[in-house]
Amino acid sequence: MNAAAAAGCSQRRAVLRRGKLTLYRYEPIARPGNGPPLLIVYALVNRPHMMDLQPDRSLIRGLLSQGIDVYLIDWGYPDGADRLATLADYIDEALPACVAEILRLHGIPALDLLGVCQGGVFSLCYTALHPAQVRHLITMVTPVDFHTPQDLLSKWVRKVDVAAWVGQGNVSGDALNQLFLSLMPFRLTQQKYVHLWNEQSRAQDPQQLENFLRVEQWIFDSPDQAGAAFREFVTWMYQENRLARGTLDINGLRVDLGALKLPILNLIGRRDHLVPPQSSAALQRLVGSSDYTALEFDLGHIGMYISARAQREVPPAIAKWLAER
C-alpha cells in the first residue's frame, strides 16, 4: 500500500484552499452531462476518501462515469488552533465559500449538493439557509431525527456533560473510534479479524488483504474534532434533537426544513447501525418538498460507500434521479 491510497484513487485537483479545508474538483472520465456540478459534503468524522477508496470501490468514480462533474470538500485535520471553530464556521462560512467558488467557476446560480452522514446535516442546514444556491439536494445515510429508539449513540450521550467532555480542546479522533467500535464490539474488534485470518489461511489473497487494510487505514484515520463544533453538534443534535424539532439556529437564523421545496433524494442504508434508517427516513415528514424520493438499500453504513452492491446501484440511481429533473 502506498500513501496515495490514503487520498483516494481518482485524479483531482485543488481549486480552493481555506485554512485546513481543500475543495477538490475531480477529473472527468466520461463525456460530461448537461447538469450542474455536484458538490459532495462529507462528514467531519473520518476522511472523505472512503468515497473513492479504490477503482472498483469508488462512488466518486461511479458518479464520474455517469458524466457528473464532481467536487468534494476535504475538511482536513483540525488541530489546537481550530478548537474554537463552531458549526456556523463550517456551515455558514466554509461551505458557502466552496459553493461560491464553484458557482463562480461555472458561471451558474446553483449547483447540486450531496451530503453524506454528518455532511448531510450540514447540507440540509446550508440549503435551508441558502435555498437559491442549491438546485437538487441528495442526502446519504444522513441522521435527521436523532431520538429514534434504535439510535444507540444518541442514548449513550443523552446524559453526558458534553461541555465537560470537550473541555477546552478538541475531541480526539481515537476516542470517537473507540465509541464507534463499542457499538458492535465483538464484530468490529474481533470477528472481522478472525474471518480475515481464516480466509487468508484458506486462500492467500494479497489483493483481498490489501483491500482489507485499506479499509482499516480509513477506519482508524480519524481526525480530531474541533471542540466547539463538536460540542454544538452533540448537544444540539444528539441531545436536543433541534434539527427534527425545528429549533436549530445557525448564526441566528432558523434552519427550517419545512421551507425546503427543492427536489430531494434521500439514500438510506437499511442495515445502518450508526445512522438508523428511521433517523434518515424522518426527513420525509419534515421537508416541504413535493418532489421527495427515498431509496433504501440493503446495506450498512460503510457498505453504502464500498460494497459491490453500492457501486452497482447507488451512482446510477443518483444519475437517473438527476437526469429526470
Binding site: W156, F186, R187, L253
Partner: protein, 269 residues
C-alpha cells in the same frame, strides 16, 4: 455535596475532646478518632519531656536518636484537624463518601496556607474515586451481558447435542460466529438499557471531571514555571477571532460589498 464549615469544625474538634467534653471549649483530651492519636495535651507533654531529655543530654547521640524517634513516631500518629477521615461526616468535605481517606491532600477540611492546593488535590482524588466507581459499574454490566450471552450460546449448542460434529475450519468458524451473534445480541440489549446508558454517561462525566482537575493542576504548575497555559491561549484565540471578524466586516464595508445575502429573517429572541 454541601459544605458545612461549622459542622466540620465541630466534628473535627470532637476528635480532640474526651468523651463528654463539649466539642467547643474545654481542654482537649483523649481523641476519639478512627486512629488512637494522642491528645494534643498529651502530645505536648511527651514532646516537652523528650525535648528536655535531649537538651539535658547536651545533644548527645543517644538522646538525639531518642528525640528523633519520638518526633517521627508522634508526628506519624498525629492527625491534624484537616486530615481526619471525613468519609462518614454529613455535610463536610468528603461527606458524600466519594473521597478515600488516602486520597491526595487527604479528605478533611482544607485549612491554612496550602488550602487552595489541598482542595485541588482533594477534588482530584474525589474525581479519581468517582471514575473508578463508574468503571466498576460498567464492568458489572458487561459481566451481566456476557453471562447472558454465555447462557444463550450454551442453550443453542445444547439443542445440537448428540448431533454429529466434524471439526472442520468452517464448522469451527460457524461455532465462533454463533458465539459472536449471542454476544452481540446480549450486549445490544444491555447497551440500550437505561442502566447502561446511565452508567456510560457517569463514566464519561467522571472521566471528564478527572481530566479537568488534572489539567487545572498542570496549569497551576505551568503558571509557576511561567509557561503558557491553555486558558491564556484560549483568551488569545478569542481575541484573534474577534479581530478577524472585525477585519472581514471592515474589508467588506470598504469594498462596498453588502453582507452575505440572506433569504431568511433572523430568528426573533
Amino acid at each position: 455535596m454541601s459544605f458545612d464549615p461549622w459542622g466540620s469544625w465541630r466534628a473535627a474538634a470532637a476528635q480532640w475532646a474526651p468523651p463528654g467534653t463539649p466539642a467547643f471549649g474545654g481542654v482537649p483530651g483523649a481523641g476519639a478518632g478512627a486512629l488512637p492519636p494522642p491528645s494534643f495535651a498529651e502530645f505536648a507533654r511527651q514532646f516537652q519531656q523528650a525535648a528536655q531529655a535531649f537538651l539535658g543530654a547536651g545533644g548527645a547521640t543517644p538522646a538525639n536518636e531518642a528525640f528523633t524517634r519520638f518526633l517521627r513516631e508522634r508526628f506519624a500518629q498525629l492527625r491534624m484537624p484537616w486530615s481526619f477521615d471525613a468519609s462518614g461526616l454529613a455535610g463536610g468535605p468528603g461527606g458524600s463518601g466519594a473521597t478515600a481517606s488516602g486520597a491526595p491532600g487527604g479528605s478533611g477540611w482544607a485549612l491554612g496556607a496550602g488550602r487552595e492546593h489541598q482542595e485541588r488535590l482533594q477534588r482530584l482524588g474525589a474525581a479519581a474515586a468517582r471514575l473508578a466507581a463508574a468503571q466498576q459499574r460498567l464492568e458489572l454490566l458487561w459481566s451481566d451481558a456476557l453471562r447472558e450471552a454465555a447462557g444463550s450460546y450454551a442453550g443453542q449448542l445444547g439443542a445440537q447435542a448428540g448431533q454429529d460434529f466434524k471439526a472442520t475450519p468452517e464448522a469451527l468458524q460457524g461455532l465462533y460466529d454463533r458465539w459472536v451473534d449471542c454476544a452481540e445480541d446480549a450486549y445490544g440489549r444491555m447497551a440500550h438499557s437505561e442502566a447502561y446508558c446511565d452508567a456510560f454517561a457517569e463514566y464519561v462525566n467522571a472521566g471528564s471531571q478527572w481530566r479537568n482537575e488534572l489539567q487545572a493542576g498542570i496549569e497551576q504548575w505551568a503558571r509557576l514555571l511561567d509557561l503558557p497555559t491553555r486558558s491564556e491561549i484560549n483568551s488569545l484565540e478569542l481575541r484573534l477571532r474577534e479581530l478577524e471578524q472585525a477585519a472581514r466586516r471592515d474589508a467588506g464595508a470598504a469594498a462596498g460589498v453588502a453582507p452575505a445575502r440572506r433569504t431568511k429573517r433572523r430568528t426573533p429572541p
